[in-house]
Amino acid sequence: MYGWAGTILTIDLSKEQIIKEPLDMATAEKFLGPDGIGLKLLWERVPAGTPPLDPANIICFGSGPLTGTFCPNSGKMSSVFKSPTTGLIGVGAAGGFFGPELKEAGYDLLVLMGKAKKPVWIWIDDDTVEIRDAAHMWGKTAWEAIDIIQEEVGDVPTITIGPAGENQMFNAHALIMRSRSIGGTGAGAVMGSKNVKAIGVRGTKGVQVYRPDEFMKKCKEAKDKIINNPVYASFARYGTPGWTPTLITQGVMPTRNFQEGIFPEGEEFLDPETPCKEIFVKSDACESCVIHCGHWCEVRSGPYKGTKTEGVEYYAEYMFGPYMDCADWGFIVKASVECNSLGIGFGSAGMIAWLMELYQRGMISKEDVDGLEPTWGNQEVILELLRKMAYREGVGDILAQGWEKAAEKFGGAEFQPIITRLASTECPRARMDVALSHLTSVRGGDHNKSLPYFAWVCSPEYIRKNWPEWPKETADIYSPIGKPEIVDWTEDWKCVIDSLTCCYWSTSVLQAGGNSPADYAELLTYATGVEYDEEKLMEVGRRIAVLERAFNVREGWGRDVYQMSRMFIDKAFPRGPQAGVKADMKVINKMVDKFLERKGFDAKTGYPRKETLEQLGLDFAIKQLKKQGRIIE
């Protein structure tokens, strides 16, 4: 076996069975890695309509055929499950070292099914797989659980959940090692629902490649493309906080629950040099990464002095910064540590900003928040509300049930930044690339599935040169023209990258001259012995993207799932470069229609066309959707 490890490891928690099955090579060739293979398993093994926290849901973790090799930036992992946060497909990718270690233990995919009778943790030591008692870990934070695992088996990569996952908070995350996560769509809640506190892995087998000489030569070329690229120096110094100048100058820095798009009071805080000076200690990288965008961080002064962590990045910066009216890197580190330890996705923190806006508007009182005063920038209250959510205490219990339940209790749904069932991470009012990619994202409205970053980062000339068939307005992020084309392509490519479990930051969509689909096809061919070219690789991406969307249709979500919060439609930023602009749903819906038709789905119903599924060899999906009457023949 080359490239792939060759085995799917399934753990039936209800029956306490460990099942090792050979990876079907025809499936591997067509679906590549966890994003695709896991998705197919989810489709086959989980009956339509299964509640996400039911034992019948499964959760898959794994890595792709380049992971564990010398291919640069190939050391990530992906996860697939039905999401308790949205009811849609739950997919997510994470860095760290777990994915490569699982692969080197001999497994392409780990599938958890059923529900353990009591809390357990899974220990994988190459061929030895054990379901171990986790009574001594249950109730502990994720970081405490990691300490216990390290005492028991040594310093190994882990996936853990904190109290938020144990208590099935609607979007609890699965923590990868101490600071990476499968976040946003509730992977931690699904693990909690199965009574699985943690997974630890040690792998020593390595990965075989088919044509090692050509592969190593290509790996070197791929590495050179990354480190000789203009993006490299910025990424290496700043990590993702380097992104803030773009948002500041575009006037879309999410501030006080999207009420503002600029944050002049935090000018120094948002300067990417500030964390370099204040909290960064040294660079840090995932396995096989040549960019090292991560940093080890330590708070050197103030109330959080001494707090340390790895991996503070842009999402934490804005969520616990302008979004809640804070401008304090010490607090960003502290809040990141709390979230990771409690097992809370940073997105949940957005609920606190929403609560703050309701308080600002007089729609709730202190009594509604257990006597706490949720004023903007109140760090003490933010930390206490995070804790309450994780342990489901008082108001935290309401918030832990999700956005809809919280709005039922407090009102104010019109101030929730929801796009397609997920809290948005970017502002869709003026930027058409954001509006379309968020609205049509299969995991809900965030940047993870199809935001075409390259429309901004690469020059318009680069886009015109490489995609001459797209309209010339494609590179203009404020124009609706060309957005269905670029979002459609990006979604397919992101599915490839997530299934290869390579780092999105190292590919050509982010860097003019970076590694392209053709480069990855060559790497894959040398690694696996299976011939790939650009066209075949992009078809794999399309197959996964179409099946993900078809999964959502199977679960009952049609065209009407693509909805945007009234806060973006009725309200505009009062100041800054995008002042006065509201989301124009007439224009945006036309883009959605065009996108769906390009993807091979009916714009009116949102259902897939039979020929779309046929062309991609997804006959099993046709059969199921026909039964449900959710296919266009």
């Binding site: 910025s234 992104w243 940047h447």
Partner: protein
Amino acid sequence: MRVTVQYFTLLKRAIGKGEESYEFQGGARVEDIWAKTLEKYGTEIEQAGYVDAVTKEPRSIIIAMSRIGVVGLKHVDLYDGLETELKDGDLIVMYPPIMGG
């Protein structure tokens, strides 16, 4: 005519400041801003790799413009590139590309 220029991240480090303004009597283009940048900081930004050694044109940096009455910040390539005629109140932004999210 007054035009503001902002530099960010590694370009700001190379130049040593984040913002400055220029006054022009009569018309001016984005290339005039670039010429002034080269005149004042040529050595520093050339060493940092942001100037094409042959053409002396900008290399590996985003140059974008925010203009009164136009929504958002746009690449100058979406206007007329370096030949874009400037207007009073224009904001020119320069920085090496980087992503996040």
